[in-house]
Symmetry: C2
Subunit: 165 residues, 2 copies
């Protein structure tokens, strides 16, 4: 946790005590390579950038990529390891309005697991070239899933607070 | 891990050694209550069921739900704690064809974090009634995110291997 550097608590924000122990453990299965080395340089959201990023899967899991190349889009889960985990209310800088953590896509959340839908450009061995990420260079990868439009796509979904901002 | 009971290795499946240590830790932030008590009773995928499920968030995180009720759809992340984590190649029973773990939505994966897009029916305090889940009753909750159609919806995405089956 690095709450002092990039994530000082703003007026209107609220933190809680974290649980005294963890409940489950994660393995980093690879790394994500992006053009962004500091949080301030990252796109505000993934649709703002057409940058090609590279997802590199550790050799241990290489065979698990079989048939991934047949997918046009993937769900990536990754670990926002620079984020504080104790905020329940946040005031995002670019909106300036208080919202609950679970109404935001902020990396600051109890379990800083980010989810992005990416377009797969190509797969070379254990390296995937994708478009649609906004995370820091070197971000730890947690999972790759096929994106099924039948269950994952809801074109008419609305985030009410965002629409009204 | 409970690889013996529900997930015996089938012909065509392959397991690898897991890493010797974990890289990050998760907190369970609540529980998901569904009508399904055994894996065989769960819908094959979430669009098969209109069952209303209840997501209960622990009191510690209650305030983080502010404004979630303005969302029509949410992304839920939850922990498939009954799944083996060492399979790289799998032969799903209902397809009978071998695929890599990262080309499947199977709960058996290095980090068994499931992602489902759900429709929010209502929120009463720290309880959310949702449609679109297929997990076991009592499944641990990891995260709730607002679903943004602008970044999360790709209606024309294709999973090539699935289309051809």
């Amino acid at each position: 946790m690095d709450s002092g550097k990039d994530f000082g608590i703003r007026e209107g924000e609220k933190a809680v005590d974290l649980p005294s122990k963890a409940d489950a453990a994660l393995y980093f299965i690879g790394r994500i390579y992006t053009p962004w080395n500091e949080r301030k340089d990252c796109p505000k959201n993934a649709r703002e950038s057409e940058a090609v990023c590279v997802v590199e899967v550790d050799p241990r899991w290489h065979e698990a990529l079989k048939d991934v190349e047949t997918c046009t889009h993937l769900v990536l889960l990754y670990w926002m390891d620079k984020s504080p985990r104790n905020l329940v209310l946040q005031v995002p800088g670019h909106y300036g309005v208080q919202h609950g953590t679970f109404a935001l896509r902020s990396p600051a959340r109890p379990n800083p697991v980010a989810m992005s839908v990416v377009k797969l450009l190509r797969m070379d061995g254990n390296r995937l070239s994708v478009v649609g990420l906004d995370c820091l260079d070197g971000t730890p990868l947690l999972d790759i899933k096929p994106y099924f439009a039948s269950t994952d796509s809801v074109p008419d979904a609305v985030v009410g607070w965002h629409k009204n901002d």
